[in-house]
């Protein structure tokens, strides 16, 4: 770096604006060039004159900001109530939210009868046989998954309002002001006496109606921005449709929070500027959908005290294949797409309905805070920050809690944790969050023990079942669930937690033919436990597993373990008099399924429980014992009387019964030429229907095995 380059770097260096290499070069140059060093001092001195303006923010500024935010909050209107139809996935018919059941897997809505008739979920590709219901309507203590459907809360209000509106409309038309609230009158609205208007109000709509709909009218929404039209939404066979119909002179306006236009019992009621419009509807002769046909009566209503919203509610036109799920307090609509993702429509974003796709969810739940909680299989998300879903956890299990919250387990970096969504919208994670500081799996076990009648199920964790006894291991302890009673085994020095956990993960928590007996093996030792009526006794068995050894275990008639080292086969039998180690000479050996075969005293033997069975006499220790998996034959290579040949004997094995008997099962016995360069220690194996003999990684011979004869 020369002086010119160095000088140009002096100021940037004061602002960390140089790359590391440049800084180093500059430092080096400054240490050798006094002139540049002086200049650097001047620059630093000049910069030191710059002082941060020590200005305190004016006190009044906060008040102004506060007022502005308050005004802004007050100005923000509440979300419009979009009306969305729900249709039965099976029969495509209209579905009352409160009466519908949802598929336990994909949440497709069904009539209860339809689901029962079909026997399973009728959604394409879903074969779920269980259903779920929203918490408020399920009538069960622990429905899962929990779907807190807002619509189910609104339904009764709406129905009451409809009845009131119809009664009010008809009552006023007949001059019977005292009819409101009279149940008899509510049931006997005589629409025939409603005087018809001069011209059919909705005649034009009828044409479009036929063109658009192939289902039935389920919801009607009124635009109230002064545009004289209203929308009809209908659930057809291929999805929710909507269209406009002209009102011409009749201005129908929607008031916030009211169901302005409803069709029920053959009557259409509209809240208009001039009062309540009551129209007659009738069935079309060709199909089941309703047709509005002009009979309209205007009924004066007292002026509404509610301020009209400045917002413009839109008719949501769900594309084919999307099914309405729910709506949150912000007016966002949640629908399920065919690809099992959740589609979120936000009516407030720039006057349109931008979609946001959320990872597939099995459930949708709204909290008091307005945040939506979505969960599906192994993932939970919140939509707290609007259209910005954040995966919270990879969930392995989800359990609805009594208070409306959710408890779930998730796995991260091989460890199990729990998390909880409270009914108040809070999310908490970690062992301390639930069930007295127990870790995730133990919490799940406790949940299981508490609610086992409903939730008893296998969890994806290190566990084993022994009849009614369930065992599980979490990060700290061994848990035993026996008849609803949970017992904890505190780890001891004799039971190293890590080793135990690792061993269990390696699938060596052994079943036992005896109730309540189980064995845990870690890398060093075997441990023996007895469970009796929930009490667990532990005894470390004094068996040390040598390094580089293999353990064969079984539990057919008796529980046994065989520890095979490069020198010996040691046998452990935990029941009966043979408890302890049995020394066995063990070369060569092979394991076929659960069966260990080894050469002992010039015979091929096997063990079934503690019992030793001689399978084949006269097998030399130098023999090679191989398994032809393709045709399930045992291949024994042994030296023959002819020094230039090897005898290859193939024994047929019986599928599924292990190795019980070999004598008499000979399929072939042939002499094959002794490969040049081979010896008794050469490698041999069977693959692709051939016997391969190798020496030092080089194939000496590949001999096709004769086909199995029976």
């Amino acid at each position: 770096m020369n002086c010119e380059q160095a000088r140009s770097g002096l100021l940037p260096a004061n602002f960390d604006g140089l790359e590391d290499e440049e800084s180093q070069a500059l430092e080096t140059h400054l240490s050798t060039c006094p002139a540049c060093k002086t200049l650097d001092s001047e620059v630093s001195s000049a910069l030191s004159l710059l002082e941060r303006p020590a200005m305190k923010a004016p006190e009044a500024a906060w008040d102004k900001i506060k007022n502005r935010i308050h005004e802004d909050i007050a100005r923000k209107p509440s979300a419009p109530a979009l009306k969305i139809a729900v249709s039965c996935t099976y029969c495509k018919g209209q579905l009352e939210r409160a009466e519908s059941v949802f598929c336990g897997s994909c949440l497709a809505p069904h009539h209860p009868g339809c689901f029962e008739e079909y026997g399973r979920c009728s959604n394409l590709g879903c074969a779920e046989t269980r259903t779920v219901k929203p918490l408020e309507t399920a009538g069960q203590r622990f429905p899962m998954p929990a779907i807190q459907a807002k619509a189910t809360e609104r339904k009764p209000r709406r129905r009451a309002k409809l009845v009131a509106a119809l009664v009010l409309g008809a009552g006023t038309a007949f001059g019977m002001a005292a009819m409101v609230g009279d149940p008899q009158k509510q049931n006997s609205v005589d629409i025939a006496q409603v005087a018809p208007l001069a011209r059919p109000l909705l005649k034009k709509a009828r044409t479009q109606y036929r063109q658009v709909l192939d289902g039935r009218v389920s919801e009607v929404t009124v635009d109230r921005d002064g545009d004289p039209w209203f929308g009809l939404s209908a659930q057809g066979a291929r999805g929710l449709k909507s269209f406009k119909a002209s009102f011409k002179d009749a201005m129908a306006r929607k008031r916030d929070g009211q169901d302005d236009l409803v069709i029920e019992n053959g009557l259409l009621a509209i809240h208009g500027d001039d009062g309540l419009l009551v129209a007659q509807t009738q069935q079309d002769e060709e199909s089941s959908y309703a047709v509005i046909d002009g009979q309209v009566k205007t009924v004066p209503l007292p002026p509404s005290t509610k301020k009209a919203s400045t917002l413009d509610p839109k008719i949501l036109d769900l594309p084919d294949g999307e099914t309405f799920l729910d709506q949150d307090k912000y007016g966002r609509v949640y629908a399920r797409a065919l690809n099992k993702q959740i589609v979120v429509y936000d009516p407030w974003a720039a006057g349109r309905y931008p979609k946001a796709l959320v990872e597939a969810t099995a459930g949708l739940s709204f909290r008091n805070s307005g945040q939506a909680l979505l969960f599906w299989g192994n993932q939970a998300s919140t939509l707290k920050s609007r259209l910005d879903p954040k995966p919270l956890a990879k969930m392995t299990e989800v359990f609805p809690l009594k208070d409306g919250g959710l408890f779930f387990l998730y796995k991260d970096s091989g460890k199990h944790y729990n998390g909880r969504f409270g009914a108040d919208g809070t999310y908490s994670a970690g062992a301390e969050a639930i069930l007295a500081g127990k870790s995730g799996y133990s919490s799940a076990l406790e949940l299981l023990s508490s609610h086992r009648s409903i939730l008893l199920k296998e969890l994806d964790c290190t566990k084993r079942s022994f009849g009614k006894i369930k065992l599980a291991v979490d990060e700290e302890k061994l848990w035993v669930l026996d008849g609803g009673k949970l017992t904890c085994l505190t780890p001891t020095e004799a039971l190293p937690v890590r080793a135990e956990k690792r061993a269990l993960k390696n699938n060596v928590l052994f079943p036992s033919p005896y109730d309540g007996v189980f064995i845990i093996r870690d890398d060093q030792s075997l441990y023996h436990f007895t469970v009796e009526a929930g009490a667990v006794t532990e005894s470390k068995v004094d068996v040390t597993i040598p390094e580089n050894s293999a353990v064969f275990s079984g539990a057919k008639e008796q529980l046994w373990h065989s520890i095979l080292t490069d020198k010996d086969l040691n046998k452990c039998n935990w029941q009966g008099q043979n408890r302890g180690l049995l020394g066995v000479e063990a070369f060569p050996k092979i394991s076929i399924g659960d069966t260990l075969l080894a050469v002992k005293e010039n015979a091929l033997v096997t063990w079934d429980g503690a019992w030793e069975t001689q399978l084949l006499p006269g097998v030399a220790k130098t023999s090679h014992i191989l398994h032809d998996k393709k045709s399930n034959r045992l291949v024994i290579l042994s030296l023959s009387d002819d020094p230039g040949s090897i005898r290859m004997t193939l024994f047929n094995l019986t599928v599924g019964t292990g190795v019980k008997k070999l004598a008499g099962a000979v399929d072939w016995s042939v002499l094959i030429p002794f490969p040049s360069g081979a010896n008794a220690l050469s490698t041999s194996f069977v693959a692709e229907g051939k016997l391969w003999i190798e020496e030092n990684g080089k194939t000496l011979k590949a001999i096709s095995l004769p086909p199995r004869t029976n």
Partner: protein, 196 residues
């Protein structure tokens, strides 16, 4: 990165609490304001060189910040974020001023010398004003990065967050701004050797 203060909730926690109750203004946001308003105000004065305008910009910045809390990334520090908003507000104002041919003065940062000033102090004061002039002479974009670095001690990473750019770009902009400052300083004979 978390903003930690002794015994006080971190900025990110305060933001989270604010988000929880979006339908009402809570004291959590006020706490955020109290924590950062002085620095933001000082930053705005450095950029706008006018106290009144800086006050307006301060209000606008915190108002925008409140409405954008949902977009705040809790994995990052709050200060670079609010600085970014403040910088954007200031840039908007400056652009508007440019349109309206508004005259920008630097009254806020100028102080009259007192009678007690000795000759050397005055000389130092003049020199200080010249350096400040050199800084003020920079375009607002360049000035803002130098101010963030020099006055507010922000790291290059934080400046990168404020500018929504990469670390490398932030360094590049710092270097460019510093070189410009060097030119302005040499024009005012602050440095005996021209730094180019």
């Amino acid at each position: 990165m978390r903003d930690t203060q002794s015994d006080e909730p971190a900025d990110q926690d305060l933001v989270a609490l604010c988000r929880e109750q979006r339908d009402q203004l809570t004291e959590n946001f006020e706490q955020l304001y109290r924590r950062h308003s002085d620095a933001v105000f000082s930053f705005l004065i450095s950029l706008l060189r006018n106290r009144e305008k800086a006050e307006d910009a301060l209000q606008e910045a915190f108002f925008r910040a409140y409405n954008a809390l949902d977009r705040f990334d809790p994995e990052r520090a709050f200060r670079p974020w609010i600085f970014r908003i403040a910088r954007n507000v200031a840039m908007d104002q400056l652009r508007q001023e440019k349109k309206n041919h508004a005259v920008v003065t630097s009254e806020a940062t100028k102080e009259a010398p007192s009678k007690e000033d000795t000759v050397s102090t005055v000389s130092r004061r003049e020199r200080k004003e010249l350096v400040q002039d050199a800084l003020d002479a920079l375009p607002a974009e360049e000035r803002s990065v130098l101010v963030m670095k020099h006055f507010h001690g922000m790291t290059v990473k934080q400046i990168a967050e404020s500018l929504s750019c990469s670390l490398r770009t932030a360094k590049y902009r710092l270097k460019g701004a510093a070189l410009l400052l060097g030119t302005e300083l040499s024009r005012r004979d602050i440095t005996s050797v021209e730094v180019v």
